[in-house]
């Protein structure tokens, strides 16, 4: 341990007494935490695989099926069925599953507890931890939309603002649900199981694999109320550009309600420290 360094500090401290120090801002704190999380994400092979490979693989597998069955009569092109689903996979595998594991790991290693002893606010801790996964997920969405449209010769989204609204609401919903789900798992292994219900429900019932229009009316309108259904509907409508204002407003409202429920659930159930 260096005496010299401390002495220099001591002198500086004496001189600096009373003068107001520049305090950190929320943006700087978020970036600092986000940078550390990005480093951690880069060192987590499982998470990277879930994030970067699985959505693409699922999309390819789905394309084979769609092309093989000649998309059973929904009037949707392959691209219009496939691309929104791919963005859904990014939300579920890239962000939701990943972040659930990350929150569990940070809590169990007492990182969240330690972060709360500093100047970071609670919301900044949750957001900063999610920052790299969300930014990467959004970048993936942009790439998939641009490249996907090119490869499948379907051009660009007809109503990009709706697609963007859908993806952003989706990101808030899945990050918040990841935080809530993390309260149910004590290990990162258990986190892989805890995410299954929402994943299955969304894959099956939110129009990712089977468009809801293809289902009986009653069932379809019930499934439209699932957490990620309005998100998928907005993305699809943003892609095809074909929907009435009333329908769009309904999807937006349901999506925002789910975002609100998820954020409330975080405040109510999120655990900052391990159960002992």
């Amino acid at each position: 341990m260096s005496t010299a360094v401390l002495d220099a500090d001591a002198i500086e401290r004496e001189e600096g007494r009373g003068e107001v120090r520049a305090e950190t801002g929320a943006g700087a704190r978020l970036l600092a935490l986000g940078r550390a999380e990005l480093t951690l994400l880069g060192r987590n092979k499982t998470a990277l695989y879930m994030m970067l490979v699985i959505p693409v693989m699922l999309a390819i597998a789905m394309k084979q099926t769609l092309v093989g069955t000649n998309s059973p009569g929904m009037g949707l092109s392959v691209a219009a069925a496939l691309l929104p689903a791919t963005l859904g996979y990014v939300l579920l595998f890239g962000i939701y599953s990943n972040m659930t594991g990350a929150y569990v790991a940070r809590r169990e290693e007492l990182v969240l507890k330690r972060l709360r002893t500093g100047e970071l606010r609670d919301l900044e801790i949750l957001a900063g931890t999610a920052l790299p996964a969300v930014v990467l997920g959004l970048a993936q969405c942009v790439l998939l939309v641009l490249l996907g449209g090119m490869v499948l010769k379907d051009g660009l989204p007809k109503a990009p603002h709706l697609l963007i609204a859908g993806v952003l609401i989706g990101a808030v919903v899945v990050v918040a649900f990841a935080a809530v789900s993390s309260a149910l798992a004590r290990t990162t292994e258990a986190a892989q199981l805890v995410v299954l219900p929402l994943m299955m429900l969304s894959l099956g019932g939110s129009g990712m694999v089977v468009p809801l229009d293809a289902l009986p009316d009653l069932l379809g309108s019930l499934l439209e109320l699932l957490p990620l259904s309005p998100v998928m509907a907005l993305i699809r409508v943003g892609w095809t550009g074909g929907a009435g204002t009333g329908e769009i407003l309904k999807h937006l409202a349901v999506g925002l309600v789910w975002a609100g429920i998820a954020v409330f659930a975080v405040q109510r159930w999120f655990r900052w420290e391990p159960r002992r």
Binding site: M1, S2, R13, A32, T39, T117
Partner: protein, 353 residues
């Protein structure tokens, strides 16, 4: 800084008795009537009542002072410090740190304090450099990361993953985090637990330098030696209450010194000069072993030795010992336990009646 002068300043404050509070406006920390109850979870009424870890604690810490909270495991040290740090709200009572409520006004208090938890939490896949860089981005007026690493002697381990650090190295990384913002008030919860002797002494040296540069420090420890080495004042916690408080020397001086030896065969306690005249205030005898308690160690020891000389006998196993913090601590803990049992019994009786 002139140590003698500083100590006499501090001493002046301690004369008011109790935990000894210097002029109130100079206090960096003020604690009054502090209580903390943990919510119970059980189904039975007794369990739902929860557990009261802090039961009415008062003390103050002056600027630039090093205050130690001492106690056995479960005495309420960490529970108390967490309230000072603003990590939880007290059940009752008041805490002021730098004139503010550390819990409700934590956004204005946090930039001016630093803390080291009993168990540090760091992502195991980051290196100390990356960990400190992240923390520096979240800390007002942070020192350069390299300086912080050097001050805790971790320069050589700067780029090793945290999971590969030893327990002691993690403690030092935690300390580096606590010091990163050059805090005015520093909270150290058992900073040397798990350190080897050398690292412990290095940490003590660092803590002393911080104190000498004007940092106010609150330290919890169950190492009495640590409190004796570092603390200006201390409070001994027992079952959530302060059992004794004051300057280290005063707490120790309030305890008797001891003389013990073996009486040779053929001699009895009554053969000694009258114990009262020697300044002995109490004695115990176990077999041939005699143990005398005194507040005037020199007079009592001289009396015993002169007597032995005159009788021409050898006192085997002679041990003359001034009061130490350890003895004070054990004695106070024992006394407090007895009083606690009495109080507990009274409460039970009251409840029954």
């Amino acid at each position: 800084m002139n140590d003698g002068e500083k100590n006499s300043e501090r001493g002046g404050g301690a004369d008011h008795g109790g935990a000894g509070t210097p002029a109130a406006d100079d206090n960096v920390i003020d604690v009054t009537g502090l209580r903390r109850r943990y919510a119970g979870r059980g189904r039975r009424a007794k369990a739902r009542e929860g557990f009261e870890a802090v039961r009415g604690v008062d003390f103050s810490v002056a600027r630039g002072e090093l205050f130690a909270l001492l106690g056995t495991n479960g005495a309420g040290k960490t529970s108390t410090v967490e309230l000072l740090e603003g990590l939880a709200a007290p059940t009752a009572g008041q805490v002021r740190v730098l004139g503010r409520d550390p819990f409700t006004e934590r956004h204005s208090v946090r930039p001016r304090i630093g803390m080291m938890l009993q168990e540090g939490g760091f992502p195991s896949e980051l290196t100390p450099t990356e960990t400190l860089r992240m923390w520096a981005g979240c800390t007002s007026g942070a020192r350069p990361v390299a300086d912080a690493l050097e001050s805790v002697g971790l320069t050589g381990r700067a780029d090793v993953r945290v999971k590969q650090l030893s327990g002691g190295e993690r403690r030092r990384l935690d300390l580096a985090l606590a010091l990163l913002g050059r805090p005015e008030v520093l909270f150290l919860d058992e900073p040397t637990t798990g350190l080897d002797t050398e690292a412990r002494h290095q940490t003590w040296e660092l803590v002393r330098e911080l104190r000498d540069s004007g940092t106010t420090i609150v330290l919890t420890t169950h190492y009495l030696e640590e409190a004796e080495e570092l603390a200006d004042r201390l409070a001994i916690l027992h079952h959530g209450r302060i059992a004794a408080a004051g300057r280290v020397a005063d707490v120790v001086a309030a305890q008797p010194s001891h003389i013990s030896f073996e009486l040779p065969a053929g001699f009895h306690l009554g053969d000694l000069p009258p114990l009262g005249e020697l300044g002995v205030v109490g004695h115990e005898k176990a077999g041939r072993r005699v143990r005398l308690r005194t507040d005037e160690l020199q007079r009592a020891a001289t009396g015993v030795l002169v007597w032995a000389q005159e009788k021409g006998i050898t006192l085997r196993g002679l041990d003359v010992r001034s009061a130490s913090l350890e003895e004070a601590f054990l004695h106070i803990a024992k006394e407090a336990a007895e009083q606690g049992e009495l109080a507990g019994a009274r409460e039970t009786e009251g409840a029954a009646a």
